[in-house]
Amino acid sequence: MRTKVHVLCALSLVLALCAGNALAADGLTKAEIKERMKNRYPDLVRLKEQQILGETNQGMVEAVAKKGVQESGVAQIVNEENADRSALYALIAAETGTTAAAVAKINAQRVFQKAGPHEYFKDTDGIWRQKKNMKVGFATPDSSQ
């Protein structure tokens, strides 16, 4: 009985170590994420200028209308951008001692401040509006963080 328990413990340990290595292999560094986002940035700007993509108050990009997703490559750009942003928010959260959600909201506000008047943003009610039609406080960071 005791031998079985030892074997199970050893197996669990091996599995845990394998899982850890797999995560480490998949986890990108900040520099790698930056390079990917930098390369994608011109496409992102173009799609925002064409009013196909907009920003949510959760610090992510989304297609403003269904027709936007139909354009070739848009869905892929959205998915890749949001995956990189999620990874980045988690990294910065770990570095600064806060949550990824709080980092995401601060970034949403940063993007809003830098955006042009015709760019689209999804407000807290889930409605897309152009910046020129919105109030200044787009994504107020959670004060409890």
Partner: protein, 67 residues
């Protein structure tokens, strides 16, 4: 008489202790929140420096007068 005095001193100590505790709870979280917010903002600005670089590259240069 001594009992009354002891009770009064104990009450005063309790009040004093409560005051100190309340002030700590009101002040510290504000500092922590502002500190974290500033740190995160700085990290994001450093990370997204390529956005500013691109905007600067695309903005038209001021025309120089030729004589």
């Amino acid at each position: 008489m001594q009992v009354v005095r002891s009770v009064a001193i104990a009450a005063m100590l309790m009040v004093a202790g409560t005051c100190t505790f309340t002030i700590k709870h009101e002040v510290e979280p504000i500092h922590v929140t502002v500190d974290v917010y500033v740190k995160v903002e700085k990290e994001l600005d450093n990370f997204f420096d390529f956005e500013t670089q691109r905007q600067n590259e695309q903005s038209p240069k001021p025309e120089t007068k030729q004589n």
